[in-house]
Symmetry: C2
Subunit: 352 residues, 2 copies
């Protein structure tokens, strides 16, 4: 009998390691990066490369159709994949879409999905090449995006050096705040408790960040125009803490973050206050922000547009681990994932 | 209120037309073919193109896990997508895989899937670049394959001319015969009726054609070595009848098929006999053969390897429609899909 190890026992990253062991390291000169970065990279000739990424959104796992209109779903499915291409410092060019459709999805809903996907594609200069539509038990969306870059321009996760600045675009935690608001609203509607319903108009920004996130192609294009290039780059899909750990592990660095510098919108703070929760946990562990996290050598700072990013820390030697300094000055070790309250947990061993 | 048109009302091709109306014709010089052929085609510079295709296999819709071992599923998912690349006369190069995993799929099963996918990838000289694994309610597999070709070498569906020979590789109907055997066996096992179980060893070939079909990359490579190039090309995923109609519609041709020349393996004939069914319907409407159907100018015939293909008819003027001549000499109109018994239905209008 074959043994049965639940996937949850090894986790997503454990599973990727198992898959990598089977697929192996292909002996092909044209392949510059395979499984492991935001996107795979292969040469197409003339000093240029293509990068390719694919991600699925599955009903009940990744989204709730009751508060995710199909047009937004199309926009988001395109944006999250474009974000992975952008996170290689590449320009998205082509997309394919696989739609698995249960019988309660109408032609009009498919059209709405594609209107949203096409709106996002046009925004990113990406062409939807086609794909596949098929029957399914649950609404399933799988998008592949192919992007292009000069080979020398591609930025991987592993290039950060101790001393490099740790920077982030935009603000964090808003997408998670938006999800909190939408889930709360849904619960109120289910309980027919209209009085307890939130004023959604006061939460426009965070809801928009949850339902129609945008990939930061604008930032990458701005970098190209200014001739700057980060040394390491990743997009924030799983929360700041997880992504900092990815950059540090791949770059063989530690990092020191200044908690007070993490950019958080006022509306996000308001939502956390309303729910009597710590807004820092939204930013650190919430995810789905699709902002860019990157390493920047300090000497490149004067070439950057200060309106597009915030310096939130610095890369350190790997034995210093990943640490956050909270507003009171206390320094704590930052776990890769999961809730960890500022100042309540402390791991002096890990923080050395 | 938005209207609700079931997807079944417009069908897969109707839905593709609706999607095409939204996505539009992108104004991009690098894009040579978008939605509509086996794969999309875009230039990568230096007179070369990439072709990209994506297809999903969803549990209970496309396969039954009770008789589709995970390793075969991985092999098949790769083969059916490589087949679409081959059907552009291109060479597969890269693949990405999205796996949606229900909780009853173990790590060992994922590994088995990837062993099969990697076995197919190695066979086709294709590199698995990575992808995405995610939770799902039903096992969902979505594969994207990117291939490469000289721009001049790509063969589309629309290049057949009246007078060209209509040719097919391998033999047809075997995958459907294999499915019949497997479904029958499953039913017997459910009924605990071991006596009525088939001797599977007598059906090895058709079962293998159903569970582990192979893309005809060997044929395309043979064409390249011989300097021959079909004028139109498609792979047989939905059955011969459907694919002939695709070639004829896109090429603005009709076709005249000789039913007796359609290549059918003895084992396939035996299965049809056992089930008291007409084997021609397996070949015409069964699907999943992943053989190549192509148009060949007669003057190229002497450069072809006769062991790799069969001439089954000829393209005609479009007003002659798509017709089949049965072994008795009777000529009937061939519908694009659905069961139509030889000699029982006749549509003189369509056959003009």
């Amino acid at each position: 009998m074959a043994s049965f190890t639940p996937v949850s026992d090894v986790g997503e990253f454990g599973l990727i390691d198992r898959i990598r062991a089977i697929v192996g390291e292909p002996e092909r000169d044209d392949l510059l990066a395979g499984i492991g970065d935001d996107a795979a990279v292969y040469q197409i000739g003339g000093g240029r490369v293509h990068v390719v990424t694919t991600d699925a959104l599955i009903e009940t796992v990744h989204f709730d159709r009751s508060f995710m209109p199909m047009e937004y779903l199309g926009f988001k499915a395109m944006s999250v994949n474009v974000s992975d291409v952008v996170a290689m410092n590449a320009t998205p060019r082509y997309a394919t879409i696989v739609l698995g459709l249960p019988s309660n999805v109408s032609v009009e809903m498919v059209e709405a999905f594609y209107r949203g996907a096409q709106r996002a594609a046009a925004r990113y200069g990406t062409v939807i090449l086609g794909g596949d539509t098929t029957a399914a038990r649950w609404l399933t969306v799988s998008v592949t995006v192919i992007g292009e870059a000069e080979e020398d321009a591609v930025v991987y996760r592993g290039g950060a050096q101790p001393g490099d600045l740790l920077c982030v675009t935009g603000d964090l935690g808003a997408a998670y705040a938006g999800l909190k608001v939408l889930l709360h609203q849904q619960q109120r509607l289910r309980e027919h408790d209209a009085d307890a319903a939130l004023d959604l108009s006061a939460h426009r920004y965070v809801i928009q960040r949850q339902l129609t996130p945008t990939a930061r192609l604008d930032v990458v294009q701005d970098w190209a125009a200014r001739g700057v290039q980060p040394t390491a780059l990743i997009d924030i899909s799983d929360g700041l803490a997880s992504e900092v750990h990815h950059l540090c592990r791949t770059s063989h660095c530690g990092a020191h973050l200044y908690g007070a510098r993490i950019p958080i919108d006022l509306e996000t703070r308001q939502v956390a206050d309303d729910f009597a929760e710590e807004v820092d946990t939204y930013a650190l562990f919430g995810g789905e922000d699709y902002e860019l996290l990157f390493a920047l050598p300090e000497e490149h700072l004067d070439r950057m547009n200060p309106e597009t990013f915030t310096v939130i820390g610095r890369f350190t030697d790997p034995d210093e681990g990943v640490r956050v300094q909270d507003p009171t000055g206390e320094i704590i070790s930052l776990e890769a994932a999961g809730y960890q309250h500022f100042g309540t947990a402390r791991s002096d061993e890990e923080a050395s």
